[in-house]
Every structure is written in structure tokens, then in C-alpha cells.
């Protein structure tokens, strides 16, 4: 079988040589480091696939693609770039480019895209290497009418887009924004362009509103989950606190548990909410300096003597910080440091508070 002709265009001569050496066995590889020379020297008609870098000095890759498409509209391209941007994505999409590959990339990944591209007979946006929300962000600026089919292990879906509006959105049994929310949560999926069937349209939502609304809902759900975790931690901590309060007798003045993820107060004993908040940034600063100067970091706690009180910050309890103030005139310091404090830190670790 005759080898397919692939033209690779990049101003990096070393990369060109590497790609030629790696791909020459399977394909007829022609390399150029100048788009102008390539346009003058080759018979474009005979090229089956172009692999084009975007950033080149004398003519950028997008301009080169336009020149080729002017004469041969059906030609296929893989675009490679070290600087992917929304602006490029939008432009490439308007040109109908199939594949965008970010540098650095592996030869296997490129070979995979070459095979897909050569097999793909449709000139569409099939499997462009961007996520679906980025694609929607691009489509919101275009007057394009397109239908996107989504396939994933969790189910299949379809999104119709017309003139910057979502006209249909379906995922499994879900429809509208609920479907878009599920699609946005997907990790592993592929999407392809399919013929647009207008009669299937059942909603009319501006794309921008759809994206913002689903992002807001996902954030809201995440916050609710965090809040549920915090509530269960508060209960666990309450039970635990009652136990160690007995060991400390009346020497404990106050205590507070702070969540380090959002610096919120989870539990307070005898103190205003948020009183120990500043200690979370102090803990980070101390660790930063210890790492810089001594190549070490905090163990389980630190304590600060402030007259008849000591303030103890127990820091390495997952995502939490426990602050306490102890009256050292009411407890033997040795007893507290050698027996009670290790017991508290050990038990907190065993409780394994979830973040």
C-alpha cells in the first residue's frame, strides 16, 4: 500500500529531524522550516495531511492553513503549538481544524492523531483536543450551527448550539441545564460533531448563562459536601473534646478547631468564633521558614508562653488546626507536655478527621 504523504512545518529544525526519523517508516514525510518555501515548493494536492506549528517567524501556521484551504478546502491538519490559547482555538475551529496538539507531546500521541486524522473522512471538529466547556466558550462567539455528540462511560449526550444559544442539551435521561451540569462533571469522554437536526431543539439558553449556571451549581454542591463533612467532624470533635477536658481539669481556658481548607471555625469552647484563625497563616509561615533555613518542618504542635498561660497550636491534624489556651498555674507542665499533649495529638490522628 502506498505511504500517505505528510508535510510537517515547524521552524524548529531539531524537532523536524526528530519527527522525520520517527515517522518515516510508516509515512512519506516531507519537512519544511519555512511556510513560504513550503507553499512555493510543494504540490499541495498530493499532501494527505499537514502537521503545522502555529508560531513561526515569517508566516504563522494559521495563515499557512488559510492559504492551503483557499486552494484545497478539504485538506486535513494537525496543529501543534507550545502556546495554546482561546484565541487560537477559536480561529482553528472556524477553519474546521481537526486536531490541536500541545507541545511537548509524545511521538505515540502524534501517531495516534495522524491515524485518526487520516481515517476521518469528515471535515469537522471531531475530537479536537480541547474540553467540551472550552469548545462551548468558543462557540458562544460564533454564529455556527452545530450539534455535538458526547460519549462517555457514564452515558451519552447531545448538545445543539445555534447562534450562541444552547438549543438542546441532553445527557442520559437528563435535559437542559441538569444535563449540561452532568456533562461538565465528566472526566473521560469523547465528542464529535454530528449533523444538526433542528426539530430536536427544545430549549433556548445563552451559552454563557448555561456555563455560568452549571459552574455555580457544581460549586454549590461542593460547598454542601464540605459543610456536611465539617458537621460530622464537629460531632466527632465534640465527643473527643469532652474526654480530654477531663484530663485537663480546669486548666483549659479555651479551644477552637479551625478548618485549614477555608479557614472557617468548626468548633469553639469558651471563645469567640475565629479567634485562632490567624494561627493558620502563622503555621504556614513557620513551616516555610523552617524548610528554608533548616530543611525541616513542624512536628505535631507549637506552644507560646504568654505569662501564666500557654497557647498551644496543634497543627498536623489533616486539614485542621486545634488551638487551645492552658493555664499553667493549674497543671504540671511536665504532665501536660509528656502525657496529655501526646495523648491529644495521638487521639486526634486516630479520629482521622475528614477534610
Amino acid at each position: 500500500m502506498k505511504k500517505k504523504n505528510i508535510l510537517i512545518l515547524d521552524d524548529d529544525k531539531n524537532l523536524l529531524k526528530l519527527l522525520k526519523d520517527s515517522l518515516n517508516n510508516r509515512y512519506e514525510i516531507i519537512i519544511f522550516n519555512s511556510p513560504l518555501k513550503a507553499l512555493k515548493s510543494i504540490n499541495i494536492k498530493k499532501i494527505d495531511l499537514f502537521i503545522v506549528d502555529i508560531n513561526m517567524p515569517e508566516m504563522d501556521g494559521i495563515q499557512f492553513i488559510r492559504e492551503v484551504l483557499k486552494k484545497f478546502p478539504g485538506k486535513k491538519f494537525i496543529v501543534i503549538t507550545g502556546f495554546p490559547s482561546m484565541m487560537y482555538n477559536k480561529e482553528l475551529l472556524s477553519l474546521g481544524i481537526q486536531y490541536l496538539l500541545e507541545k511537548p507531546f509524545s511521538i505515540d500521541r502524534l501517531e495516534n492523531l495522524i491515524e485518526k486524522s487520516l481515517k476521518n473522512k469528515e471535515n469537522n471538529i471531531a475530537q479536537i483536543n480541547i474540553d467540551i466547556m472550552t469548545l462551548l466558550q468558543i462557540l458562544k462567539y460564533s454564529n455556527k450551527k452545530t450539534s455535538i455528540s458526547i460519549k462517555s462511560k457514564k452515558g451519552n449526550g447531545i448538545i445543539n448550539v445555534k447562534n450562541g444559544f444552547l438549543k438542546k442539551c441532553k445527557f442520559g435521561k437528563l435535559e437542559g441545564l441538569e444535563a449540561l451540569e452532568e456533562i461538565q462533571k465528566l472526566d473521560d469522554y469523547i465528542f464529535t460533531e454530528t449533523p444538526y437536526i433542528e426539530e430536536n431543539d427544545d430549549v433556548s439558553i445563552p451559552i454563557e448563562f448555561g456555563i455560568l449556571e452549571t459552574v455555580r451549581k457544581i460549586d454549590e454542591n461542593n460547598n454542601n459536601n464540605n459543610s456536611n463533612n465539617n458537621n460530622s467532624d464537629t460531632k466527632v470533635f465534640h465527643e473527643f473534646f469532652e474526654k480530654f477536658k477531663d484530663d485537663l481539669d480546669d486548666s483549659i481556658i479555651n479551644a477552637e478547631l479551625i478548618s485549614l481548607s477555608d479557614n472557617s471555625s468548626i468548633f469553639q469552647y469558651n471563645i469567640d468564633e475565629g479567634s485562632y484563625k490567624d494561627f493558620s497563616s502563622l503555621t504556614s509561615l513557620i513551616n516555610k521558614e523552617l524548610s528554608k533555613y533548616l530543611d525541616t518542618h513542624l512536628g505535631d504542635y507549637y506552644l507560646i508562653n504568654s505569662g501564666k498561660f500557654i497557647i498551644i497550636i496543634i497543627s498536623p491534624i489533616n486539614n485542621y488546626l486545634l488551638g487551645m489556651t492552658i493555664d499553667i498555674s493549674k497543671i504540671q507542665l511536665g504532665l501536660f507536655l509528656n502525657i496529655i499533649l501526646p495523648k491529644i495529638t495521638k487521639e486526634i490522628k486516630i479520629k482521622n478527621l475528614k477534610s
Binding site: 513557620i286 523552617l290 513542624l298 512536628g299 507549637y302 508562653n305 504568654s306 511536665g334 509528656n338
Partner: protein, 124 residues
């Protein structure tokens, strides 16, 4: 300030902590310049000085009582860093807590050396 007494205070710490003393510095709070040191470096003084400032600011910001006699950081690998501020000077040290139990350090050794430190700072 009596440098001879300061050195004596340092010797007292060495005697009390024995093998447990990893390094120590007595330095000026103003420019973090070491005055008396054992097994340490200017970087050690910079570290102690910076952390002292952070601790003071955190206590102030949180409206807690001010830093008094010392603060102690429990470090990984059975070590502890202790800093005692006294007027224009600070005394920082790193201790091996396998050699020196913390209770003994805070309840017995620290009060002893604090007295010697105070005497050296105010003495002539």
C-alpha cells in the same frame, strides 16, 4: 550587657542539656547579629528572628496576650526549637528531645538559664 555573664549563661545551658543541645545563639533582636553562639550560624539567627516576629504579629492580630518568656516549636525527628526574647536580645536554641525531656527543659532548665540571661543583659 555583661558578655562574660552571657557566656556563662550559655555554658550553663550546655551543661544542663549535655548531648541534647544541637545549636544555640544569643543575638540582637534589632539586626539579628549573633553575640554568643554554639554550633550555629547567622542563618540560624535569621530564622529565629523571623519566626519571633511572626509569632508576635499573630498574637497581636488575634488579640491574645503578648509573647512572654518563650515559644517552643515541636519539630520532626524529635527536635524542638525554643526562643526566649529578652528586651533587645533573643536566645534561640535547637534541642534533641530524646536527650532532654521537654518537661525538664521548660520547668527546670529554662527558668535557670532565663535568670542567668536576665542577669547578663541587665548587668554590667
Amino acid at each position: 550587657m555583661n558578655v562574660k555573664k552571657l557566656k556563662e549563661a550559655m555554658e550553663l545551658l550546655k551543661k544542663e542539656t549535655g548531648q541534647g543541645l544541637i545549636g544555640t545563639d544569643i543575638y540582637s533582636s534589632k539586626d539579628l547579629q549573633p553575640i554568643v553562639a554554639y554550633n550555629s550560624s547567622p542563618e540560624g539567627c535569621a530564622l529565629f528572628g523571623k519566626i519571633t516576629e511572626y509569632v508576635k504579629k499573630a498574637l497581636d492580630g488575634a488579640k491574645f496576650p503578648a509573647l512572654n518568656k518563650y515559644y517552643l516549636l515541636d519539630l520532626v525527628d524529635d527536635k524542638a526549637l525554643i526562643v526566649m526574647p529578652l528586651g533587645e536580645f533573643q536566645w534561640g536554641m535547637v534541642i534533641d528531645t530524646r536527650e532532654v525531656p521537654l518537661g525538664m527543659l521548660l520547668s527546670i532548665i529554662l527558668p535557670k538559664i532565663t535568670s542567668a540571661f536576665e542577669e547578663a543583659i541587665v548587668g554590667n
